[in-house]
């Protein structure tokens, strides 16, 4: 990988779980498979009411098991899959080795985590559900997304001055 590419990759990896650079270059329509995964995901979001403000309020008041069951079983299936992928060194459909990098701790995880938790309880949605809510016809959530974009932008602007 060229120096310039390497630098760009490092920057994209900042404050994200992990970004993998593929050595392959594909035409744009290869991305349609991610659209399909997103569609299935969005349907599950709405039909299991994971994107419901009411279900989030129940969760944070310990009034229902529903959300805990969903997050818990999702983690179990996810963890088992990651274990299988690592154990058997499963490759992508294009034959590239799958890489999962662990992100180290920084103080932003605590400060940012607490702030996001507050926003999650107020809006009743994390970023994914916001997109699903708009799709379902709740057009006013566009305001929430614009505000979330402003929050993201403000973080980028202040990043060097914030404790990490």
């Amino acid at each position: 990988m060229s120096n310039q590419n390497q630098k760009d990759l490092q920057k994209r990896e900042l404050d994200a779980m992990c970004v993998n650079e593929s050595q392959l270059s594909h035409p744009w329509y290869y991305n349609i498979k991610y659209l399909l995964v997103g569609i299935i995901f969005g349907i599950v979001f709405v039909k299991a009411e994971i994107v419901s403000w009411f279900r989030i309020q129940e969760m944070f008041r310990l009034q229902s098991f529903h959300m805990y069951g969903i997050i818990g079983s999702a983690i179990m299936v996810g963890a088992l899959s990651v274990w299988v992928i690592r154990r058997f060194q499963i490759k992508t459909i294009y034959g590239e080795p799958i890489v999962i990098v662990n992100k180290p701790f920084n103080k932003g995880i605590i400060y940012g985590g607490l702030l996001f938790g507050m926003g999650w309880a107020i809006t009743g949605a994390c970023p994914g559900p916001l997109f699903a809510q708009i799709g379902s016809g709740a057009s006013v959530v566009i305001i929430t997304i614009l505000s979330a974009l402003l929050g993201t932008w403000t973080y980028g602007w202040l990043r060097d001055r914030l404790p990490h």
Partner: protein
């Protein structure tokens, strides 16, 4: 069959399906499941403003934007073709509490339309829920380096202990706000 799909999907169906997104994205193209990064890519594409944090080749992360577009389309399909004709059923104690704030409309299962609608954007409650809440979601997720998908599901699945810590912080912030802050806001 259609009737079955229209009802509330139980957690033991929905949870594993969401968990399967992790290997699906990894195997389809070495992508790590995460949604909040999409907001950063939009900033990088639309308003980079010469900020170092937004100066990168966002086109290489276009899959993430296409993925969230898919979530939006999925939300549309679920709402228009698999709509549950009956109202959302919530815990009786929550219903009693919300009643005291004047929230009685359960026809939209996803948002409390009594307080979240276009006319309420500049009311006290509406502004806090939509504008302040949204800002906290965008700022907090980026500061923490991920959201419920990136940290709580992808990160914990990969046994990343910092992601577990992040999730604990999400829950602390949420419990505190839902039980102590939100009642104050909603009763005004």
């Amino acid at each position: 069959m259609l009737q079955f799909l229209q009802q509330l999907w139980p957690w033991y169906i929905a949870g594993p399906l969401i968990g399967l997104t992790v290997p699906a994205l990894l195997i389809l193209g070495n992508k790590n499941f995460g949604i909040s990064s999409s907001l950063r890519h939009v900033c990088a594409a639309c308003i980079p403003a010469n900020i170092e944090y937004f100066k990168y080749d966002w086109k290489k992360e276009i899959w993430n934007l296409i993925f969230v577009l898919g979530i939006m389309i999925g939300g549309f399909l679920a709402a228009y073709y698999l709509d549950n004709p009956s109202e959302i059923v919530v815990a009786p104690s929550l219903k009693t509490e919300l009643q005291s704030y004047g929230i009685q409309d359960y026809s939209n299962a996803l948002i409390p339309t009594d307080i979240v609608n276009w006319a309420s954007v500049f009311t006290f409650k509406g502004f806090i829920i939509l504008v302040i809440g949204g800002f906290l979601v965008g700022f907090g997720t980026r500061y923490a380096g991920g959201c419920t998908s990136g940290h709580s599901i992808m990160g914990i699945s990969a046994m990343n202990w910092a992601s577990l810590l992040a999730t604990i912080c999400f829950m602390i912030g949420g419990f505190f706000t839902a039980n102590l802050v939100l009642p104050f806001i909603l009763s005004h």
